[in-house]
């Protein structure tokens, strides 16, 4: 299945904007692991099991992922839209 991915920053390996092809029944966590593998990003530093809301906002079909009952274990469907936003701390 093909998952659409949008972001507010450049994700290395996904510059083309085509999203990612995943096996059926893949979860959001598995998708993020694929993105990590492509880009070198680290969504779960130091063994964390959850996304730090100070760092990342991840939505599935425009709904925050934590609103889904299974959160990161939510099973994705073909053509789902996953939005990954980086959260900044600071200013100039």
């Amino acid at each position: 299945m093909q998952i659409r991915i949008e972001s507010n920053f450049v994700i290395t390996g996904l510059e083309g904007g085509d999203g990612l092809a995943l096996e059926e029944e893949s979860t959001l966590r598995q998708l993020l692991a694929r993105v990590e593998g492509l880009s070198g990003l680290d969504f779960f530093p130091r063994g964390s099991e959850v996304l730090d809301p100070d760092d990342w906002e991840v939505d599935i079909n425009n709904v925050p992922h934590y609103s889904y009952e299974r959160r990161l274990e939510t099973v994705l469907k073909d053509a789902d839209l996953v939005v990954i936003r980086v959260v900044a701390t600071g200013g100039g």
Binding site: V10, D54, V86, A88, T89, G90, G91
Partner: protein, 760 residues
Amino acid sequence: MKKEYKVVGKSVERTDARPKVTGKARYAGDLVAPGMLHGKILRSPVAHANIPNIDTSRAIALPGVLGVITGRDFPGIPFGTRPDIRDQIPMPITKVHHFGEGVAAVAAIDEDTAEEALDLIRVDYEELPVVLTAQDALAAGAPLVNEFKKSNICYQSDFLFGDVEKGFAEADHIQEQAFSSQRVTVGFIEPHACLAEVDNSGRILLQGSKQSPYITWRHMCRALDVPLSSMRIINPFVGGGFSGKHDPMDVDFAAVKLAQVTGRPVKIVLNNGEILAAYRQRNAMNARLRLGVKKNGQITALHAENILEGGPISGIGPFNIYYYGAFLNIPYKIPAIEYHGKLVYSNRAPCGTVRGQEIVLAQFCLDSLLHMAGEELGLDPVEMRQINAVTDNWTCANGIKCDVSGLPECITKSAEKVAWKESRKARPADRGIGFSCASHPSGPRLGGHFGSAVVLKLMEDGKVIVTHGGTEIGQGANTVFCQMAAEELGLPYEDIIQGVSDSDTTIFDSGMFGDRCTYWDGNATIAAAQDLKKQLAEIVAAELGARPEDLEFADACVFVRDNPEKGMDFQRAVRRAYYEKGAPLYGRGHWSATDIDVVDWKTGKGNLAHGLDFIATAIELDVDRETGKVRLLRGIHGDDAGQPINPAMLEGQVNGGSAHLTGQALWEDSLYDEKGRAINYSWRDYKQPTAMDVPEYVVEHVHTHDPYGPFGAKGAGEASSCSSMAAIANGIYDAVGVRITDLPITAEKILAALNAKEGK
């Protein structure tokens, strides 16, 4: 009809004027605590080296030394502005990255003992090749600078706004030029300093000289691996920031860690040599811009490539890359822009930014290039800027909407005041006038925490205490918030008292940067005052025989609208609240520009900010052909900051920004030798402008009313720093016909260009 204000728009005395001029203001370096120790930091004598071993045993054995720490005493958790680019730790663990980097710190009973202990620490340095320039960083096989990254390209952005190909096709003339700029220090007067304490529960208290204390606080808690509630941060008086005090520095981390290790308060105060050698500087730039223009001077397209060399950490570098590109859209109407920006690592001092952020560098390039194109086409530089100036309700190519622009009037005023037309008829030899414009947003939404909040506490004597999370760093924020509160509450300015910035009691703020504080916290101040009035009105309405919504506050009274005889004085109303109701009166207000877009790092598109402030700068100067020396004669700033809240302070901001960047334009240069060691890290050798160097300044206020700004105000203080360098470069060209595109424009460079021009 224009509203008449009683406090806003008046040059009232600053809230901090008297303690500062009488020497009573307490800065971080003045703080003391019972049992306090003094900390010192050992610094790397090399720019790039592995540090396999640090032996502190002799230092800790020295009588009077109570603690010695290194990077290994910290959890090793990297911090940074974005989770994808965290590349900094409190102190180095495996390698040093730049000359002067702190490698160990000592706490002792006095400064001399701490200094002596530093000499007893043995650090093994295994020197590595250094990366000093962007060219070095991008060279094949270049040594990697940052151990958290696999490339020396720290960050990059590629933006495309509009149809650039079409824009250049429509141009009658294309002007292209490379520009470069040097490393400069930030230039605040008060050095980094802090006092750290740890209480019996392990809770940390840090009192430091911080520009954006809550940014420091968040980063420090992450790197120390403690929850936010385990640390309290208080800002004493701050002696200038200019973007150099946002981040936590090793001084902050070292003081906290030494306080934890020793169980005693620890104060560290750096000296200016340490800061000039090893702390935040502005990125060096290598840029190439191409500008398409019509015969009448109208811009059709812009192509910009920019590489910033930023030292060994990203810091706020992504913001610098972003600002440079996204804000090429202002102050001129440019229908199409292509931008490619890179930030690269190096083994020079870490960069943050300096006043105006990297809009300063972008505008130096753009406005120099505009002048060059005008010269080629035989166009008047003033008319050329008028043709392109952003006007009211203009939507930029990337989507920024300019609500109100006083720029055309700013250009007119500065040209008239500097007597531009007259100068074209007759002027002394080697004298010239240079123009440049600029615009700066009043605080974009960079993401994360970006709201502002203010609390007003009404005291029973009728005075009001303002607390906010913005920071008074010398720019006058506290004064303007007190003015706004007084205006809205109908009280004398003297009845408003500035409270303390303390994370335990103050509402947090995202930070003092980007011309945002007056605008965002100012709106929050008004909202807090309105909330306070509402509460008070509900308490006294019945006694006045009116509905709460029919009461007004003015002249320290509460009265029924259109019936001023029916009212009571403000203090009596307050006593009704406290004595008869026991009602605590706290006005709470918050504000955020939620109708603008959060920064899109990927595209640079969106309506990024309200409150674009504008400036048109004209600088008159002359050049000594024998020496190449530039003498600045007059600086005229037509300035649109909306409704000035405090005109005298606004002029100080405008003139200060211009004077500050005069240094980068003409003199300042943080120099390094071939091994990356800083050379000129003293105020004797590093030339910042003094009062003797800057010209007579005149600010011509252009009053506009920003629809979203507090009382119609916009941010202020950074636009003049963005306009001044190109104005100087253009003025030098106007005076003697040589164009220097490599900052600083030293006398030597001018002389060499004059000689080359004359075939010598």
